[in-house]
């Protein structure tokens, strides 16, 4: 005798969930919350300015156009900097490189940190010990100091700077991801795959990694913010991008002497950095809330599945 095939459950036919692109689902969900709207608005504003800015700049950012430290005028809306270059043009041109480098550094940090964190959580034993103690040693240095140390060893080339900042993120990411991965690696579906005798690397990439989406997205947002702050910080103390190329961090440093004659040369880049950092942080917060909300709902459903009721969770 064969039992009849069960009818598809009602939730299956009526509530398809976007799973393949869940990160997108979370992003759009976050962007719809008031918090996310504010955050993404601020970020988009600065990114748009940084990306399209170079095309609108009236002067070359390197050209000496007027007297140094000139206050704003109709010709130079934000005045001139310490060497007599147009501040507006330098501000418009000084962001895109920073954004690109910060993103690259974030990616390096996330990839390395995630690999280390998952490996530590899944492999356990001495490998966990080695990875996490290394992380502890690096974490003993403040991140900026560690990045500075690396830059001074590697030299202030653009890509070495990216690598240095990325490396300084990795231990922090590893910490967070290990904690999240420990939780996942204990779940039965990981065990169910392990008893088919697959390689650990496959368990880590196929079973654990996809279930770390939420912490990964939050970490990515946070690390991007930190990348920007650290990079501008490094530029400020002269370890970042080398002059004369315009960049927001170094602009604050070089123009601080003319703060009294043309404050805009310092304030404009500072405002942009602050708005970007605040916007990113706010949006990350929105992501965390939305993703956690989804996760909590999933958990609630799983818990209710025993004897409570799935159906009673109001949609």
């Amino acid at each position: 005798m064969t039992a009849p095939a069960p009818a598809p459950s009602p939730e299956a036919t009526t509530a398809p969930r976007v799973r393949r692109r869940e990160w997108l689902h979370i992003l759009t969900g976050a962007a719809r919350t008031p918090r996310g709207m504010a955050g993404s608005g601020l970020v988009l504003l600065v990114v748009l300015l940084a990306v399209t800015g170079p095309f609108f700049a009236a002067y070359s950012p390197l050209q000496f156009v007027t007297t140094p430290g000139a206050p704003p005028s109709s010709k130079f809306p934000l005045g001139s900097d310490i060497l007599g270059r147009d501040v507006l043009s330098r501000v418009l041109d000084g962001g895109w490189q920073l954004l690109l480098m910060a993103t690259a550094a974030m990616l390096i940090g996330i990839v390395l940190g995630t690999a280390a964190g998952i490996a530590a959580a899944q492999l356990r034993g001495w490998r966990d010990g080695v990875i996490m103690r290394t992380v502890d040693v690096i974490l003993a240095f403040p991140q900026l100091v560690f990045a500075l140390l690396l830059v001074s060893i590697l030299g202030p080339t653009r890509w070495l700077l990216v690598v240095a900042v990325g490396l300084s993120h990795a231990p922090q990411v590893a910490r967070v991801i290990r904690a999240a991965a420990l939780d996942v690696s204990e779940r039965d579906f990981v065990k169910a795959v392990e008893i088919t005798g697959v390689r650990q690397s496959k368990v880590m990439s196929g079973e654990i990694l996809p279930n770390l989406l939420t912490p990964l997205m939050v970490e990515a947002g946070l690390r991007l913010t930190y990348s920007i702050v650290i990079m501008t910080g490094l530029s400020f103390i002269g370890f970042g991008l080398q002059p004369p190329a315009p960049n927001w961090g170094y602009m604050i440093n070089e123009n601080r002497i003319i703060l009294t004659t043309n404050p805009w040369a310092v304030v404009a880049p500072a405002i942009l950095i602050a708005v970007l950092a605040v916007g990113l942080n706010t949006f990350t917060d929105a992501i965390a809330r939305v993703a956690l909300g989804i996760e909590r709902a999933e958990k609630l459903i799983a818990e209710a599945s025993g004897t409570g009721s799935v159906a009673e969770i109001p949609a």
Binding site: T2, P6, S9, E11, I195, G197, A304, S305, G306, P314
Partner: protein, 608 residues
């Protein structure tokens, strides 16, 4: 059984609870009444709305829900007309609620004594009077206050003791109404028995109107005087317990009863496929119509009325009852009396042979000298309470628990403790089905991907093509429609998920299936369907099976041999018929005695 004529203490009239915003009704037009000293059983599957109903009876609607219509009157007072402050005054004093999970009802950082005093103080009992009541109520729930129970913290108590404290809290102020929501789910049968006896005694001696909400038909049958069977938010059948369970008129009640396993009866369990419709997505006609084996066209058109059956006081909401065609054949009498005959004893070597197995958690030994043989094409059930070590044994066999000594032979070859050093054909041959299908399926993989995984890993198949015949065959064998192949686990019901977990093991054609409490997180009706599936698969594929369960009532429906475990040791083993009919060990006898059973009154009524 007498139909109660005493005036009703609790009167629920036309109660409708709906979600705020969407307006989807969770429960709809429910009317029940409970008299003093009476226990009303509310029975239903997950998602039937029974918990919402239970909470509404104490004047509470969960966040996101609201009382859309109807009234709940306790001793003549309409609870929903009261202010929050007035309602608070009644709670604890005039009415009480015992939730499913006792640990959620008790403050973990308050000692038991402080906990109880808090309630008494809130309702104006202090000093010597409160102390006297404290002693009294503790004695009533069978906790001895002399053993310092008042000064311990909740985590120092066992689950059963915690539940008794929760019941003591509920009874402390002698309420007129008490609602118990699955208070024994999660307790083992022995503890369940004492808790149920406590509840029954307390209700009888104080004239409390009690409502007992549960998915467990047998427990309700044992405890209650009257029952209301709830489905899809409506009462589909109600009446005296003996009538409703003895001569069920509604096909849903009949289905629930057929799904109940029993240590006395054996044979096939008949499950009900599908899940109750979700609020807001309920069909226009009878909510049960999509799952009903007796469905006719009229069922899908309009909701039938709750009409009297041929027994006094029994009402049912079914077209067949309206038209007088209800077949009230006793569901209990339908079970066959035959045992599931095992395969002919052969001299062949057992598939699995466990010899002198000791297992440890750190320094602590949890299994002591386990001997076990699983012959070919035979299902061996391992029965025991929580903490008996039965799951550890299963995990040792599967290679998930590595800290053990002794010998486990599979097909004559000794097995290493860990998975890593086991050859692929052993990993393929021994397949494991996990307890909780909500945890054992990766939520980020489709059903097809999940079933394909062991095939890829063990049979070396290439990635990507999930429509492979092997996978579809496995899904079909597990009685799943092939359409589920592209779904994600969260789009499936609990029963369907467990079928996917079973299909995953079938896809690699194992010889030994280890099933660890595979039905304990499922509804009884779904449990029956899954057990029946496993029984059929075991036959068809000639599988050897180790079936771990805490439910001794189940094993006659699936196993040929049984091993009873207690405190990490085997106390008895043999064929199912031998052990269940002539238990030798006291522990086995106790387990059998503690299984809730339908009383003679109910089984007798089915012959009428």
């Amino acid at each position: 059984m007498t139909v109660t004529t005493a005036p009703a203490r609790l009167v629920v009239e036309g109660l409708t609870v709906a979600a705020v915003g969407s307006g989807a009704t969770i429960i709809e037009d429910v009317s029940v009444r409970v008299a003093a000293g009476e226990v009303l059983g509310v029975v239903g599957e997950s998602g039937s709305g029974k918990t919402t109903l239970g909470l509404a009876m104490v004047g509470h609607a969960r966040r996101g829900l609201e009382i859309a219509a109807g009234s709940v009157c306790l001793d003549g007072t309409d609870l929903f007309s009261l202010s929050p402050a007035e309602l608070r005054k009644l709670r604890g004093a005039a009415m009480a609620y015992v939730p499913q999970d006792p640990s959620s009802a008790i403050n973990p950082s308050l000692r038991v004594g402080g906990q109880l005093k808090e309630i008494l103080a809130a309702h104006g009992r202090q000093g010597a009077e409160a102390d006297a009541r404290l002693q009294e109520v503790l004695a009533e729930v069978g906790l001895d206050s002399r053993h310092g129970i008042l000064s311990v913290y909740p985590h120092q108590l066992s689950g059963g003791q915690q539940q008794r404290v929760a019941i003591a809290m509920a009874f402390a102020c002698r309420p007129g109404l008490i609602v118990l929501d699955e208070p024994t789910t999660g307790l083992d049968v022995t503890t369940q028995r004492t808790v149920l006896e406590t509840v029954a005694r307390m209700c009888a001696s104080y004239g409390v109107a009690a409502v007992y909400v549960s998915h467990d038909v047998v427990v309700v049958g044992e405890l209650s005087n009257r029952v209301a069977v709830v489905y899809s938010g409506r009462v589909v059948e109600t009446g005296a317990t003996a009538d409703v369970f003895g001569a069920p008129a509604h096909p849903y009640t009949q289905g629930l009863l057929r799904a109940v396993p029993s240590p006395e009866r054996s044979g096939r369990l008949v499950g009900m496929e599908g899940v109750p419709p979700r609020p807001g997505q309920r069909p226009p006609g009878c909510g049960f119509a999509p799952r009903c084996p007796l469905v006719i066209e009229r069922c899908t058109v309009a909701m039938p009325e709750l009409v009297p059956t041929d027994r006094t006081g029994q009402l049912a909401r079914c077209v067949l009852v309206e038209t007088g065609q209800a077949h009230t054949r006793g569901a209990l009498a339908s079970a066959s009396g035959q045992d599931l005959a095992g395969p002919a004893e052969s001299g062949a070597a057992p598939v699995l042979q466990v010899t002198g197995l000791d297992a440890f958690y750190g320094q602590r030994q949890v299994l002591f000298g386990i001997h076990l043989a699983v012959p070919q094409e035979t299902c061996v059930a391992i029965v025991g309470e929580s903490g008996s070590g039965k799951t550890t044994l299963a995990r040792c066999i599967a290679g998930l628990h590595t800290s053990w000594t002794g010998e486990v032979r599979y097909g004559g070859r000794p097995l290493t403790p860990g998975i890593r050093r086991r050859p692929k054909d052993v990993l393929r041959g021994i397949q494991y089905v996990f307890q909780n299908p909500y945890a054992s399926l990766n939520p980020r993989r489709t059903v097809g991907g999940l079933v394909a995984q062991p095939v890829e890993n063990l049979a070396g198949r290439r990635h990507g093509r999930h429509d492979d015949k092997k996978i579809l065959d496995a899904l079909r064998s597990a009685a799943l429609s092939v359409e589920v192949v592209n779904r994600y686990p969260d789009q499936l019901s609990g029963g369907e998920r467990q079928r996917v977990a079973i299909a995953r093991t079938l896809a690699v054609s194992p010889t030994l299936l280890v099933c660890d409490e595979v039905t304990s997180s499922l509804d009884v009706s779904v449990q029956a369907a899954v057990v029946e599936l496993l029984r059929r698969l075991q036959r068809q594929h000639g599988l050897a099976m180790v079936f771990i369960t805490h439910n001794i009532a189940l094993i006659r429906s699936i196993a040929q041999q049984v091993v009873v475990m207690h405190d990490g040791q085997i106390v008895e083993s043999g064929t199912v018929a031998d052990v269940l009919d002539h238990p030798r060990a006291d522990y086995t006898r106790q387990l059998l005695d503690d299984v809730p059973k339908f009383s003679a009154a109910i089984t007798g009524a089915s012959d009428a």
